[in-house]
Symmetry: C2
Subunit: 160 residues, 2 copies
Amino acid sequence: LTPELALVATSVQAWKQNVERAEKRFFPLDDEQLGKAVAPGKNRLIYLWGHLVGVHDGMLPLLALGPRRFPELEAIFVTASDRAVEELPGAAQLKSMWDEVHAALLTGWRDWTAADWAAPHTAVSAEDFAANPLRNRLAILLSRTSHMSYHLGQAQLAPR
Amino acid sequence: LTPELALVATSVQAWKQNVERAEKRFFPLDDEQLGKAVAPGKNRLIYLWGHLVGVHDGMLPLLALGPRRFPELEAIFVTASDRAVEELPGAAQLKSMWDEVHAALLTGWRDWTAADWAAPHTAVSAEDFAANPLRNRLAILLSRTSHMSYHLGQAQLAPR
């Protein structure tokens, strides 16, 4: 294992660890439990979970791995705040979308080298990337890992 | 910039972005504001902030950058839960400790190559590292970045 491949594998491992934490937190909950807010007046668990599915789905095009699988999630869980949309997907639907998105990401990254991770993501122009080579695919992975952990910290506060 | 150095710089950048978010959240608060809990009955902001200083201080020995600067924080903010210890450091003291710990970390990493980051941290034996080379220094950086973001998500919920 070269240092550069060790760094890549370590970054993907950190992502997977947070994905597994999210699965432990959200997968066992039924629709009623998912309706609980993390604190009085704050986001509900169902919203946080759907928000993570929607944001992670958006990583597919950002990392040049194909189109979003579930573009409808953007309006429900990313653009809109919680309680702005009446009909949300249920637990079973979210789990199925979650599994599909995360499988697609892991499959997409399977053979990526350090150079692949250091390449520009699709939302940065060639000019901007030349000025700031840290606007790369790894930056997307790390910022989405932090983002997931941020909301997991909130989800941990919800009453059991 | 080689791919491997871009990956290193991207990982340190993700750390710094979260450190800056923490500073924006905690630095403006006085002792009274820091006494607020993130949600009814949950950790207070002062505890979360001290917890982050203590955990980040513990990164120094883990990354072979010298001893903890403030070993007393471990008992107050890591081993003990919130409200178990009566006398906590105040805002000014925490800020000064925060600054010292983060400056020491950034100085320590300044010239680290990919091989330095892929080296074992100090809490893993040579044998265990041989079996799992992902127990490296980057894994510490990424797990502490996630940990910080987890608690920042909670801190964001506190009443203003």
